[in-house]
Protein backbone atom coordinates (compact mmCIF):
# COMPACT_ATOMS: atom_id res chain seq x y z
CA UNK A 1 0.00 0.00 0.00
CA UNK A 2 1.21 3.49 -0.74
CA UNK A 3 0.37 6.90 0.65
CA UNK A 4 -0.03 9.27 -2.29
CA UNK A 5 0.47 12.89 -1.24
CA UNK A 6 -0.23 15.83 -3.53
CA UNK A 7 0.23 19.54 -2.91
CA UNK A 8 -1.84 21.45 -5.47
CA UNK A 9 -3.37 24.86 -6.13
CA UNK A 10 -6.54 25.33 -4.06
CA UNK A 11 -8.85 26.03 -6.98
CA UNK A 12 -7.84 22.69 -8.49
CA UNK A 13 -9.16 20.65 -5.57
CA UNK A 14 -12.51 20.01 -7.15
CA UNK A 15 -10.97 18.79 -10.42
CA UNK A 16 -8.66 16.41 -8.57
CA UNK A 17 -11.52 15.14 -6.43
CA UNK A 18 -13.55 14.47 -9.57
CA UNK A 19 -10.68 12.67 -11.26
CA UNK A 20 -10.08 10.42 -8.26
CA UNK A 21 -13.79 9.76 -7.94
CA UNK A 22 -13.87 8.60 -11.55
CA UNK A 23 -11.04 6.19 -10.79
CA UNK A 24 -13.07 4.73 -7.98
CA UNK A 25 -10.98 6.18 -5.18
CA UNK A 26 -13.55 6.49 -2.43
CA UNK A 27 -11.97 8.86 0.00
CA UNK A 28 -9.17 11.27 0.75
CA UNK A 29 -7.95 13.66 3.40
CA UNK A 30 -7.47 17.31 2.52
CA UNK A 31 -5.62 20.00 4.45
CA UNK A 32 -4.96 23.66 3.83
CA UNK A 33 -1.24 24.27 3.80
CA UNK A 34 1.14 26.99 2.70
CA UNK A 35 3.52 26.31 -0.12
CA UNK A 36 6.73 27.89 -1.26
CA UNK A 37 8.67 26.71 -4.27
CA UNK A 38 9.77 28.69 -7.24
CA UNK A 39 6.39 30.43 -7.35
CA UNK A 40 6.76 33.91 -5.91
CA UNK A 41 4.60 34.91 -2.97
CA UNK A 42 3.19 38.39 -2.82
CA UNK A 43 3.77 41.70 -1.09
CA UNK A 44 1.43 43.28 1.40
CA UNK A 45 1.54 46.93 2.38
CA UNK A 46 0.15 48.41 5.59
CA UNK A 47 0.52 52.18 5.91
CA UNK A 48 3.77 52.14 4.04
CA UNK A 49 5.27 49.07 5.70
CA UNK A 50 5.91 46.40 3.06
CA UNK A 51 5.79 42.74 4.00
CA UNK A 52 7.00 40.07 1.64
CA UNK A 53 4.86 36.99 2.17
CA UNK A 54 6.65 34.05 0.58
CA UNK A 55 4.05 31.41 1.25
CA UNK A 56 1.17 30.77 -1.10
CA UNK A 57 -1.96 28.90 -0.02
CA UNK A 58 -2.05 25.33 -1.26
CA UNK A 59 -4.15 22.29 -0.62
CA UNK A 60 -2.64 18.94 0.39
CA UNK A 61 -4.47 15.80 -0.63
CA UNK A 62 -3.59 12.45 0.87
CA UNK A 63 -4.95 9.10 -0.11
CA UNK A 64 -3.83 5.55 0.67
CA UNK A 65 -4.09 3.22 -2.31
CA UNK A 66 -3.14 -0.27 -3.40
CA UNK A 67 0.33 -0.60 -4.97
CA UNK A 68 -1.18 -1.58 -8.31
CA UNK A 69 -3.31 1.57 -8.44
CA UNK A 70 -0.48 3.99 -7.77
CA UNK A 71 0.56 4.89 -11.35
CA UNK A 72 -3.03 5.56 -12.40
CA UNK A 73 -3.79 7.58 -9.29
CA UNK A 74 -0.66 9.70 -9.61
CA UNK A 75 -1.34 10.35 -13.31
CA UNK A 76 -4.95 11.29 -12.61
CA UNK A 77 -3.92 13.77 -9.93
CA UNK A 78 -1.21 15.30 -12.07
CA UNK A 79 -3.48 15.69 -15.10
CA UNK A 80 -6.30 17.17 -13.07
CA UNK A 81 -4.12 19.56 -11.09
CA UNK A 82 -1.91 20.87 -13.88
CA UNK A 83 -2.37 24.42 -15.20
CA UNK A 84 1.06 24.79 -16.79
CA UNK A 85 1.90 27.77 -14.59
CA UNK A 86 4.59 27.88 -11.92
CA UNK A 87 3.22 26.74 -8.56
CA UNK A 88 1.23 23.74 -9.81
CA UNK A 89 2.74 21.66 -7.01
CA UNK A 90 4.09 18.14 -6.59
CA UNK A 91 2.86 14.59 -6.03
CA UNK A 92 4.85 11.90 -4.19
CA UNK A 93 4.38 8.47 -2.69
CA UNK A 94 5.62 6.80 0.46
CA UNK A 95 5.29 3.19 1.53
CA UNK A 96 2.59 2.38 4.06
CA UNK A 97 3.47 -0.43 6.42
CA UNK A 98 0.23 -0.84 8.27
CA UNK A 99 -3.34 0.42 7.69
CA UNK A 100 -6.40 0.07 9.93
CA UNK A 101 -10.03 1.07 9.36
CA UNK A 102 -11.01 2.43 12.80
CA UNK A 103 -14.71 1.59 12.65
CA UNK A 104 -14.24 -2.12 11.99
CA UNK A 105 -10.66 -2.86 12.97
CA UNK A 106 -9.91 -4.27 9.48
CA UNK A 107 -6.18 -4.25 8.71
CA UNK A 108 -4.06 -4.16 5.59
CA UNK A 109 -5.50 -4.06 2.05
CA UNK A 110 -8.98 -4.81 3.48
CA UNK A 111 -8.87 -1.39 5.07
CA UNK A 112 -8.32 0.42 1.80
Amino acid sequence: MKLVTAVVKPFKLDDVKQALHELGVAGMTVSEVQGHGRQRGHTEVYRGAEYVVDFVPKVRIEVVVDDAEVPRVVDAIVDAARTGQIGDGKVWTTAVEDLVRIRTGERGPDAL
Binding site: F11, D14, V33, Q34, G41, H42, T43, E44, V45, Y46, A49, E50, Y51, V52, V53, D54, F55
Partner: protein, 419 residues
Protein backbone atom coordinates in the same frame (compact mmCIF):
# COMPACT_ATOMS: atom_id res chain seq x y z
CA UNK B 1 -37.68 81.20 3.77
CA UNK B 2 -38.48 80.12 7.31
CA UNK B 3 -35.94 77.70 8.76
CA UNK B 4 -37.37 75.40 11.39
CA UNK B 5 -34.83 74.14 13.93
CA UNK B 6 -36.56 70.84 14.56
CA UNK B 7 -36.97 70.04 10.88
CA UNK B 8 -33.39 71.01 10.12
CA UNK B 9 -32.02 68.92 12.97
CA UNK B 10 -33.94 65.92 11.73
CA UNK B 11 -32.80 66.33 8.11
CA UNK B 12 -29.18 66.83 9.11
CA UNK B 13 -29.37 63.82 11.39
CA UNK B 14 -30.99 61.83 8.61
CA UNK B 15 -28.14 62.72 6.30
CA UNK B 16 -25.78 61.12 8.81
CA UNK B 17 -28.04 58.07 9.11
CA UNK B 18 -28.11 57.58 5.37
CA UNK B 19 -24.35 58.02 5.10
CA UNK B 20 -23.95 55.30 7.74
CA UNK B 21 -25.82 52.92 5.43
CA UNK B 22 -22.90 52.73 3.02
CA UNK B 23 -20.37 51.39 5.55
CA UNK B 24 -23.25 49.15 6.62
CA UNK B 25 -23.55 47.99 3.02
CA UNK B 26 -19.81 47.33 3.00
CA UNK B 27 -20.29 44.91 5.90
CA UNK B 28 -23.46 43.39 4.45
CA UNK B 29 -21.79 42.69 1.12
CA UNK B 30 -18.37 42.01 2.62
CA UNK B 31 -19.66 39.10 4.61
CA UNK B 32 -21.26 37.61 1.54
CA UNK B 33 -18.18 37.43 -0.64
CA UNK B 34 -15.31 34.97 -0.32
CA UNK B 35 -12.63 35.92 2.18
CA UNK B 36 -10.08 36.58 -0.53
CA UNK B 37 -12.21 39.49 -1.79
CA UNK B 38 -13.69 41.00 1.38
CA UNK B 39 -11.34 43.99 1.60
CA UNK B 40 -11.85 44.85 -2.04
CA UNK B 41 -15.61 44.94 -1.53
CA UNK B 42 -15.27 47.16 1.50
CA UNK B 43 -12.81 49.60 0.03
CA UNK B 44 -14.90 49.88 -3.14
CA UNK B 45 -17.77 51.00 -0.94
CA UNK B 46 -15.65 53.41 1.07
CA UNK B 47 -14.15 54.93 -2.04
CA UNK B 48 -17.57 55.23 -3.66
CA UNK B 49 -18.57 57.48 -0.76
CA UNK B 50 -15.58 59.64 -1.57
CA UNK B 51 -16.04 59.82 -5.33
CA UNK B 52 -19.79 60.26 -5.50
CA UNK B 53 -19.94 62.86 -2.72
CA UNK B 54 -17.47 65.05 -4.57
CA UNK B 55 -19.15 64.51 -7.94
CA UNK B 56 -22.45 65.41 -6.28
CA UNK B 57 -21.06 68.68 -4.99
CA UNK B 58 -19.36 69.57 -8.24
CA UNK B 59 -22.21 68.87 -10.63
CA UNK B 60 -24.67 66.08 -9.92
CA UNK B 61 -26.70 67.98 -7.31
CA UNK B 62 -27.29 70.73 -9.81
CA UNK B 63 -28.22 68.33 -12.59
CA UNK B 64 -30.71 66.65 -10.28
CA UNK B 65 -32.18 69.59 -8.40
CA UNK B 66 -31.11 72.69 -10.28
CA UNK B 67 -33.44 74.89 -12.33
CA UNK B 68 -34.89 72.85 -15.13
CA UNK B 69 -33.04 73.02 -18.44
CA UNK B 70 -36.18 72.12 -20.35
CA UNK B 71 -38.83 69.46 -20.54
CA UNK B 72 -38.27 68.30 -16.99
CA UNK B 73 -35.41 66.11 -18.18
CA UNK B 74 -32.36 67.59 -16.45
CA UNK B 75 -31.31 70.53 -14.30
CA UNK B 76 -28.88 73.26 -15.30
CA UNK B 77 -25.46 73.75 -13.70
CA UNK B 78 -26.69 76.78 -11.74
CA UNK B 79 -25.97 75.00 -8.44
CA UNK B 80 -22.71 73.39 -9.59
CA UNK B 81 -20.12 73.39 -6.82
CA UNK B 82 -22.94 74.20 -4.41
CA UNK B 83 -23.08 77.72 -5.79
CA UNK B 84 -25.96 79.88 -4.50
CA UNK B 85 -26.26 77.80 -1.35
CA UNK B 86 -29.08 79.96 0.03
CA UNK B 87 -31.23 79.45 -3.05
CA UNK B 88 -33.80 76.72 -2.51
CA UNK B 89 -34.51 74.03 -5.06
CA UNK B 90 -37.07 75.58 -7.44
CA UNK B 91 -40.53 74.51 -6.43
CA UNK B 92 -39.51 72.92 -3.13
CA UNK B 93 -40.89 74.86 -0.19
CA UNK B 94 -38.91 73.55 2.72
CA UNK B 95 -38.31 74.63 6.27
CA UNK B 96 -34.69 73.43 6.15
CA UNK B 97 -31.72 75.23 4.60
CA UNK B 98 -31.03 74.23 0.97
CA UNK B 99 -27.59 72.91 1.93
CA UNK B 100 -29.15 70.54 4.44
CA UNK B 101 -31.35 69.19 1.67
CA UNK B 102 -28.36 68.96 -0.66
CA UNK B 103 -26.35 67.06 1.95
CA UNK B 104 -29.22 64.67 2.63
CA UNK B 105 -29.65 63.92 -1.07
CA UNK B 106 -25.89 63.48 -1.48
CA UNK B 107 -26.05 60.38 0.69
CA UNK B 108 -28.76 58.90 -1.52
CA UNK B 109 -26.57 59.24 -4.58
CA UNK B 110 -23.70 57.66 -2.65
CA UNK B 111 -25.54 54.54 -1.58
CA UNK B 112 -27.20 54.01 -4.94
CA UNK B 113 -23.81 53.88 -6.64
CA UNK B 114 -22.43 51.74 -3.82
CA UNK B 115 -25.14 49.14 -4.43
CA UNK B 116 -23.52 48.38 -7.77
CA UNK B 117 -20.40 47.01 -6.05
CA UNK B 118 -22.53 44.06 -5.03
CA UNK B 119 -23.50 43.22 -8.58
CA UNK B 120 -19.94 43.21 -9.84
CA UNK B 121 -18.41 41.57 -6.77
CA UNK B 122 -15.16 39.59 -7.05
CA UNK B 123 -14.21 40.86 -10.50
CA UNK B 124 -14.15 44.65 -10.83
CA UNK B 125 -11.07 46.84 -11.15
CA UNK B 126 -10.88 49.36 -8.34
CA UNK B 127 -10.02 52.41 -10.42
CA UNK B 128 -12.30 51.30 -13.23
CA UNK B 129 -15.28 51.05 -10.92
CA UNK B 130 -14.65 54.46 -9.36
CA UNK B 131 -14.51 56.13 -12.77
CA UNK B 132 -17.66 54.24 -13.72
CA UNK B 133 -19.39 55.39 -10.52
CA UNK B 134 -18.51 59.03 -11.15
CA UNK B 135 -19.83 59.03 -14.70
CA UNK B 136 -22.85 56.93 -13.75
CA UNK B 137 -23.86 59.41 -11.07
CA UNK B 138 -23.92 62.21 -13.63
CA UNK B 139 -25.50 60.33 -16.51
CA UNK B 140 -27.87 57.83 -14.86
CA UNK B 141 -28.58 58.83 -11.26
CA UNK B 142 -28.94 62.61 -11.64
CA UNK B 143 -31.43 62.54 -14.54
CA UNK B 144 -33.70 59.99 -12.87
CA UNK B 145 -33.53 61.97 -9.63
CA UNK B 146 -34.52 65.07 -11.60
CA UNK B 147 -37.49 63.33 -13.24
CA UNK B 148 -38.92 62.04 -9.96
CA UNK B 149 -37.64 64.09 -7.03
CA UNK B 150 -37.42 67.56 -8.54
CA UNK B 151 -40.75 69.42 -8.70
CA UNK B 152 -39.83 70.32 -12.28
CA UNK B 153 -39.25 66.71 -13.24
CA UNK B 154 -41.47 65.31 -15.95
CA UNK B 155 -42.49 62.21 -13.99
CA UNK B 156 -43.19 64.32 -10.90
CA UNK B 157 -45.42 66.50 -13.10
CA UNK B 158 -47.41 63.46 -14.09
CA UNK B 159 -48.07 62.68 -10.46
CA UNK B 160 -45.62 59.83 -10.01
CA UNK B 161 -45.09 59.17 -6.31
CA UNK B 162 -41.75 58.06 -4.92
CA UNK B 163 -41.36 59.08 -1.31
CA UNK B 164 -37.76 58.12 -0.66
CA UNK B 165 -36.37 56.52 -3.80
CA UNK B 166 -38.16 53.39 -4.98
CA UNK B 167 -37.49 54.57 -8.49
CA UNK B 168 -34.54 56.85 -8.01
CA UNK B 169 -32.53 54.43 -5.88
CA UNK B 170 -33.95 50.93 -5.98
CA UNK B 171 -35.23 50.34 -9.51
CA UNK B 172 -32.39 52.52 -10.82
CA UNK B 173 -29.74 50.39 -9.10
CA UNK B 174 -31.48 47.15 -10.01
CA UNK B 175 -31.70 47.90 -13.73
CA UNK B 176 -28.22 49.44 -13.76
CA UNK B 177 -26.84 46.37 -12.03
CA UNK B 178 -28.26 44.15 -14.74
CA UNK B 179 -26.57 46.17 -17.45
CA UNK B 180 -23.32 46.24 -15.49
CA UNK B 181 -23.13 42.49 -15.00
CA UNK B 182 -23.94 41.84 -18.65
CA UNK B 183 -20.98 44.00 -19.65
CA UNK B 184 -18.68 42.52 -16.98
CA UNK B 185 -19.52 38.92 -17.68
CA UNK B 186 -19.88 36.05 -15.27
CA UNK B 187 -17.32 35.24 -12.62
CA UNK B 188 -14.90 32.48 -13.48
CA UNK B 189 -16.47 29.26 -12.30
CA UNK B 190 -19.96 30.70 -11.75
CA UNK B 191 -22.41 29.11 -11.02
CA UNK B 192 -20.68 25.77 -10.55
CA UNK B 193 -17.97 26.70 -8.06
CA UNK B 194 -18.75 27.25 -4.42
CA UNK B 195 -18.89 30.98 -3.79
CA UNK B 196 -20.56 30.92 -0.41
CA UNK B 197 -20.53 33.82 2.05
CA UNK B 198 -17.38 33.74 4.15
CA UNK B 199 -18.73 35.57 7.19
CA UNK B 200 -22.46 35.86 7.73
CA UNK B 201 -21.90 37.55 11.11
CA UNK B 202 -20.55 40.55 9.14
CA UNK B 203 -23.59 40.41 6.89
CA UNK B 204 -25.99 40.47 9.84
CA UNK B 205 -24.22 43.43 11.43
CA UNK B 206 -24.39 45.18 8.07
CA UNK B 207 -28.10 44.44 7.77
CA UNK B 208 -28.68 45.93 11.19
CA UNK B 209 -26.86 49.12 10.20
CA UNK B 210 -28.84 49.34 6.96
CA UNK B 211 -32.09 48.90 8.88
CA UNK B 212 -31.08 51.62 11.35
CA UNK B 213 -29.94 54.01 8.65
CA UNK B 214 -33.08 53.41 6.63
CA UNK B 215 -35.05 55.39 9.21
CA UNK B 216 -33.10 58.41 8.00
CA UNK B 217 -33.56 57.35 4.37
CA UNK B 218 -37.33 57.00 4.63
CA UNK B 219 -38.51 59.11 7.55
CA UNK B 220 -35.95 61.79 6.71
CA UNK B 221 -37.59 62.10 3.31
CA UNK B 222 -40.50 63.82 4.99
CA UNK B 223 -38.00 66.71 5.16
CA UNK B 224 -39.67 67.74 8.40
CA UNK B 225 -39.93 66.47 11.95
CA UNK B 226 -43.65 65.85 11.88
CA UNK B 227 -46.44 63.31 11.77
CA UNK B 228 -45.62 62.27 8.22
CA UNK B 229 -42.09 61.41 9.28
CA UNK B 230 -43.51 59.39 12.14
CA UNK B 231 -45.80 57.47 9.80
CA UNK B 232 -42.92 56.88 7.41
CA UNK B 233 -40.76 55.55 10.24
CA UNK B 234 -43.46 53.23 11.51
CA UNK B 235 -44.21 51.99 8.02
CA UNK B 236 -40.50 51.40 7.43
CA UNK B 237 -40.20 49.33 10.59
CA UNK B 238 -43.30 47.27 9.88
CA UNK B 239 -42.23 46.60 6.32
CA UNK B 240 -38.76 45.46 7.38
CA UNK B 241 -40.31 43.01 9.83
CA UNK B 242 -42.87 41.71 7.38
CA UNK B 243 -40.20 41.37 4.72
CA UNK B 244 -38.00 39.33 7.03
CA UNK B 245 -40.84 36.99 7.93
CA UNK B 246 -42.04 36.73 4.34
CA UNK B 247 -38.64 35.73 2.98
CA UNK B 248 -37.96 33.27 5.77
CA UNK B 249 -41.40 31.71 5.47
CA UNK B 250 -40.99 31.04 1.76
CA UNK B 251 -37.48 29.68 2.36
CA UNK B 252 -38.70 27.29 5.00
CA UNK B 253 -41.49 26.06 2.77
CA UNK B 254 -39.24 25.65 -0.27
CA UNK B 255 -36.03 24.29 1.18
CA UNK B 256 -36.92 23.21 4.68
CA UNK B 257 -34.48 25.67 6.25
CA UNK B 258 -35.00 29.22 7.48
CA UNK B 259 -31.59 30.86 7.09
CA UNK B 260 -29.73 33.75 8.64
CA UNK B 261 -28.92 35.14 5.21
CA UNK B 262 -32.58 34.84 4.33
CA UNK B 263 -33.68 36.78 7.41
CA UNK B 264 -31.16 39.55 6.77
CA UNK B 265 -32.05 39.67 3.09
CA UNK B 266 -35.78 39.64 3.79
CA UNK B 267 -35.54 42.62 6.12
CA UNK B 268 -33.64 44.51 3.43
CA UNK B 269 -36.17 43.47 0.79
CA UNK B 270 -39.02 44.77 2.95
CA UNK B 271 -37.15 48.03 3.45
CA UNK B 272 -36.60 48.34 -0.27
CA UNK B 273 -40.27 47.79 -1.06
CA UNK B 274 -41.55 50.37 1.44
CA UNK B 275 -39.07 53.01 0.29
CA UNK B 276 -41.31 54.57 -2.35
CA UNK B 277 -44.45 54.02 -0.29
CA UNK B 278 -43.73 54.93 3.32
CA UNK B 279 -45.06 58.47 3.05
CA UNK B 280 -48.25 57.53 1.24
CA UNK B 281 -49.57 54.32 2.73
CA UNK B 282 -50.86 53.48 6.19
CA UNK B 283 -49.38 51.04 8.68
CA UNK B 284 -51.35 47.96 7.68
CA UNK B 285 -50.58 48.59 4.04
CA UNK B 286 -46.90 48.88 4.99
CA UNK B 287 -47.02 45.35 6.39
CA UNK B 288 -48.44 44.09 3.10
CA UNK B 289 -45.88 46.00 1.06
CA UNK B 290 -43.00 44.73 3.18
CA UNK B 291 -44.27 41.16 3.05
CA UNK B 292 -44.57 41.42 -0.72
CA UNK B 293 -41.00 42.69 -0.89
CA UNK B 294 -39.76 39.72 1.09
CA UNK B 295 -41.70 37.13 -0.88
CA UNK B 296 -40.88 38.64 -4.27
CA UNK B 297 -37.25 38.92 -3.22
CA UNK B 298 -36.73 35.30 -2.25
CA UNK B 299 -38.30 34.22 -5.54
CA UNK B 300 -36.58 36.85 -7.68
CA UNK B 301 -33.03 35.98 -6.62
CA UNK B 302 -33.41 32.67 -8.44
CA UNK B 303 -33.88 34.48 -11.77
CA UNK B 304 -30.18 34.88 -12.32
CA UNK B 305 -29.63 31.11 -12.45
CA UNK B 306 -32.39 30.64 -14.97
CA UNK B 307 -31.38 33.59 -17.13
CA UNK B 308 -27.66 32.96 -16.56
CA UNK B 309 -26.51 36.42 -15.50
CA UNK B 310 -24.09 36.69 -12.58
CA UNK B 311 -25.63 39.36 -10.37
CA UNK B 312 -23.30 38.31 -7.59
CA UNK B 313 -25.07 39.73 -4.56
CA UNK B 314 -28.58 40.04 -5.98
CA UNK B 315 -28.91 43.75 -6.60
CA UNK B 316 -31.40 42.98 -9.37
CA UNK B 317 -33.30 40.43 -7.33
CA UNK B 318 -33.56 42.41 -4.10
CA UNK B 319 -33.33 46.09 -5.03
CA UNK B 320 -34.73 45.93 -8.55
CA UNK B 321 -37.58 43.56 -7.82
CA UNK B 322 -38.36 45.09 -4.40
CA UNK B 323 -38.33 48.61 -5.78
CA UNK B 324 -40.61 47.58 -8.61
CA UNK B 325 -43.23 45.95 -6.40
CA UNK B 326 -43.11 48.81 -3.90
CA UNK B 327 -43.51 51.45 -6.59
CA UNK B 328 -46.52 49.68 -8.08
CA UNK B 329 -48.12 49.09 -4.69
CA UNK B 330 -48.08 52.84 -4.09
CA UNK B 331 -50.65 52.93 -6.88
CA UNK B 332 -52.74 50.48 -4.90
CA UNK B 333 -52.41 51.64 -1.32
CA UNK B 334 -51.74 55.40 -1.45
CA UNK B 335 -54.22 57.25 0.70
CA UNK B 336 -54.85 60.93 1.24
CA UNK B 337 -55.27 60.21 4.93
CA UNK B 338 -51.53 59.61 5.26
CA UNK B 339 -50.30 62.37 3.01
CA UNK B 340 -52.90 65.09 2.83
CA UNK B 341 -50.34 67.45 1.36
CA UNK B 342 -50.10 65.39 -1.81
CA UNK B 343 -53.57 64.02 -1.54
CA UNK B 344 -52.96 61.14 -3.89
CA UNK B 345 -55.31 58.19 -3.83
CA UNK B 346 -54.52 54.72 -4.97
CA UNK B 347 -56.74 51.93 -6.20
CA UNK B 348 -57.96 50.96 -2.75
CA UNK B 349 -58.75 54.55 -1.78
CA UNK B 350 -61.12 55.21 -4.61
CA UNK B 351 -58.54 56.73 -6.90
CA UNK B 352 -59.03 54.25 -9.69
CA UNK B 353 -56.08 53.02 -11.72
CA UNK B 354 -54.77 56.47 -12.64
CA UNK B 355 -51.99 56.55 -10.10
CA UNK B 356 -51.16 52.90 -10.71
CA UNK B 357 -50.78 53.68 -14.38
CA UNK B 358 -48.38 56.54 -13.70
CA UNK B 359 -46.37 54.37 -11.32
CA UNK B 360 -46.10 51.70 -13.99
CA UNK B 361 -44.90 54.30 -16.49
CA UNK B 362 -42.24 55.43 -14.05
CA UNK B 363 -41.10 51.84 -13.59
CA UNK B 364 -40.76 51.26 -17.32
CA UNK B 365 -39.01 54.54 -18.01
CA UNK B 366 -36.59 54.16 -15.11
CA UNK B 367 -35.67 50.61 -16.08
CA UNK B 368 -35.19 51.63 -19.70
CA UNK B 369 -32.95 54.63 -19.03
CA UNK B 370 -30.99 53.02 -16.18
CA UNK B 371 -30.30 49.88 -18.20
CA UNK B 372 -29.43 51.54 -21.48
CA UNK B 373 -27.32 54.39 -20.12
CA UNK B 374 -25.48 52.15 -17.67
CA UNK B 375 -24.72 49.69 -20.43
CA UNK B 376 -23.12 52.48 -22.47
CA UNK B 377 -21.11 53.87 -19.55
CA UNK B 378 -19.91 50.40 -18.55
CA UNK B 379 -18.87 49.60 -22.12
CA UNK B 380 -16.99 52.90 -22.36
CA UNK B 381 -15.07 52.24 -19.15
CA UNK B 382 -14.39 48.60 -20.02
CA UNK B 383 -13.03 49.53 -23.45
CA UNK B 384 -10.86 52.41 -22.26
CA UNK B 385 -9.35 51.86 -18.83
CA UNK B 386 -10.94 48.48 -18.12
CA UNK B 387 -13.67 47.50 -15.70
CA UNK B 388 -12.97 43.80 -15.16
CA UNK B 389 -9.80 42.35 -13.67
CA UNK B 390 -7.68 39.74 -15.45
CA UNK B 391 -8.28 36.05 -14.89
CA UNK B 392 -5.08 35.67 -12.83
CA UNK B 393 -6.13 38.44 -10.49
CA UNK B 394 -9.60 36.99 -10.16
CA UNK B 395 -8.22 33.58 -9.23
CA UNK B 396 -5.69 34.91 -6.74
CA UNK B 397 -8.20 37.20 -5.09
CA UNK B 398 -8.64 40.95 -5.24
CA UNK B 399 -7.39 41.66 -1.72
CA UNK B 400 -3.82 40.47 -2.27
CA UNK B 401 -3.60 41.04 -6.01
CA UNK B 402 -5.15 44.51 -6.20
CA UNK B 403 -4.80 45.95 -2.71
CA UNK B 404 -1.74 44.11 -1.36
CA UNK B 405 -3.59 43.21 1.84
CA UNK B 406 -5.16 40.21 3.46
CA UNK B 407 -8.17 40.51 5.69
CA UNK B 408 -7.54 37.79 8.22
CA UNK B 409 -4.52 36.65 10.16
CA UNK B 410 -5.29 33.90 12.60
CA UNK B 411 -1.73 33.66 13.75
CA UNK B 412 -0.73 30.64 11.74
CA UNK B 413 1.57 30.52 8.80
CA UNK B 414 2.40 33.96 7.39
CA UNK B 415 6.18 33.96 7.49
CA UNK B 416 6.71 37.41 6.01
CA UNK B 417 9.31 40.07 6.62
CA UNK B 418 9.42 43.81 6.21
CA UNK B 419 11.19 44.87 3.06
Amino acid sequence: MHVDGGDTAWVLGSAALVLFMTPGLALFYGGMVRSKNVLAMMVQNLATIAVVSIVWAIAAYSLAFGPDAGGGLIGTLHFAGFAHPETPVPGLHLTVPPLAFAAFQMMFAVITAALLTGAGADRMRFGGFLVFAAVWTLVVYAPIAHWVFSPAGWLAHRGVLDFAGGNVVEIDSGASALALVLVLGRRRGWPRDVMAPHSLPLTVIGAGILWFGWFGFNAGSALAANGLAAQALIGTQLAACAGLLGWVLVEKLRTGHATTLGAASGAVAGLVAITPACGFVDSLAAIVVGFAGGVIGVLAVGMKYRLRYDDSLDVVGVHGAGGLIGTLLVGVFATQHVNGGIGARGLFSGGGVGLLGEQALAVVVTIAWAFAATWVVAQLVQRTIGLRVTQEVEIEGLDTAVHAESAYDFGNVRAGRIG
